[in-house]
């Protein structure tokens, strides 16, 4: 990778300062996507601002009926945390199946959603559970946060601090992994609760999306059987050497039924 200036700020303010002072700076969470990207010289920032030393960005708490996950909380912590496993087991299961154990020990929820990889799991969790992204400037509903392929609603100098998840009545996640990368070819988070009935799909399109026909079908009863007949169109879905759009559309149906069936 090309060289850069490394910063390890102690606070969000310092991070923002370092970023704004850089000619072409970037924030780093766990670095699980950023570092491989830099190694392949697909990006060459002048400055890397590591959020690993910022106090208060890591950890999980309950806040007004919501489960709040700090931006620098690792996937491994989310997967094993007592609050998450008790309140939103589907979220714990999702986090516990991201990447591999060593990746889960470093990768963070904030880094993942800021990157918004179309095949990442967390976008499905946030949209499928109706979460809210907290930044140093504002709160953003998940439905508004993920705006497109590797794009989010984050503004310049905006730093994710936490994600707040409402506790669903029932939620389940099912993932069909790419056999090689183990990213989601299709991942579906289905839930019902205070955020309504939601079916969020990752991996299949350019960006996470809600399968509205399926959400309607589940309106009459949150069961896998209710989904029979509901489908998504293959139009606009991803097509690559691993899965055609048609196959992905089919898998969305299968994974949605499995997600609902898995919902506790």
């Amino acid at each position: 990778m090309q060289n850069f200036t490394y910063h390890r700020p102690g606070s969000v303010e310092e991070a923002v300062q370092a970023l704004s002072a850089a000619s072409d700076g970037t924030l780093m969470g766990g670095g699980m996507t950023l570092l491989p990207t830099l190694k392949q010289r697909l990006a060459s920032p002048s400055d890397v601002v590591d959020l690993g030393g910022v106090a208060g960005l890591s950890g999980i708490s309950e806040d007004g009926g919501k489960v709040v996950v700090g931006a620098m909380t690792t996937h491994a912590e989310v997967a094993s945390n007592a609050i998450v496993t008790a309140k939103i087991p589907a979220l714990a299961a999702l986090a516990g199946a991201i990447g591999d154990p060593a990746v889960r020990n470093r990768g963070t929820i904030g880094g993942s959603i800021a990157n918004n990889d179309p095949a990442a799991d967390y976008p499905a969790a946030l949209v499928g559970l109706g979460a809210t992204v907290r930044t140093n400037k504002r709160e953003i509903a998940a439905d508004d946060f993920f705006t497109g392929l590797f794009e989010t609603a984050l503004a310049e100098g905006e730093v994710i601090t936490a994600v707040a998840f409402p506790v669903p009545e029932r939620a389940g996640y099912a993932k069909f992994p790419n056999p090689a990368s183990r990213y989601a070819i299709v991942g579906v988070m289905a839930s019902t609760g205070p955020a309504g009935t939601r079916v969020a799909v990752t991996g299949a399109g350019a960006c996470v999306f809600r399968a509205s026909a399926m959400e309607s079908a589940l309106g009459g009863g949150f069961s896998a059987d209710a989904l029979s007949g509901a489908s998504v169109s293959a139009d606009d879905l991803n097509s690559d050497i691993h899965a055609s759009a048609e196959y992905r559309a089919h898998l969305v149906g299968v994974m949605a039924r499995r997600a609902v069936a898995a919902a506790g």
């Binding site: 990778m1 090309q2 060289n3 850069f4 200036t5 490394y6 390890r8 670095g31 699980m32 570092l35 491989p36 830099l38 190694k39 392949q40 890397v48 590591d50 690993g52 491994a76 990447g99 591999d100 154990p101 060593a102 990746v103 020990n105 470093r106 990368s181 183990r182």
Partner: protein
């Protein structure tokens, strides 16, 4: 150039690095601890797995400066007083290695598994090893070696 200091296998280690220096480069090139290997450039093969503060991480996907102040254990630090760690002994006993290239990362991952889950099922072992690729063994004997340690019958 930034300086970095950490504890590696119980000894303090420090050096001047570039921002871009990876932990694995620091270990291999600065400290000459060449037991930690690099098998890919997309953070998937796991040949570079070491423990940072007791947890397995991919040292090819961590900057040396990110490990500032950390406790790092590499494959060289696993055996104590000339005695193989039970996981190392079990890999030998059950022929869990052939060419040996993936082995350091595989062993470090396996140790972390049993630290996290002392009695994993076969499925849990196989799932855990998702981030460690071996081309030689077909994993059969690696799984056996880990099971043996979990059952207290390592080497």
């Amino acid at each position: 150039m930034p300086t970095v200091s950490m504890t590696v296998n119980g000894r303090s280690a420090a050096g001047e690095v570039e921002g871009r220096t990876l932990l694995v480069e620091f270990l291999r090139e600065h400290l000459r601890l060449t037991g930690t290997h690099v098998g890919c450039d997309t953070s998937q093969c796991g040949a570079c797995v070491v423990h940072v503060n007791g947890k397995s991480v991919k040292s090819c996907t961590l900057l040396a400066v990110q490990a500032e102040g950390a406790e790092v254990t590499t494959i060289e630090g696993l055996a104590q007083n000339g005695e193989l760690h039970p996981m190392q002994a079990a890999f030998k006993e059950h022929h869990g290695l052939q060419c040996g290239f993936c082995t350091p990362g595989m062993v470090m991952s396996a140790v972390d598994l049993l630290n996290t889950n002392a009695h994993p099922s076969e499925t849990e072992i196989r799932d855990w090893l998702e981030g460690n690729i071996c081309r030689c063994t077909g994993y059969h004997n690696i799984v056996k070696a880990i099971q043996a340690v979990a059952q207290g019958q390592g080497g």
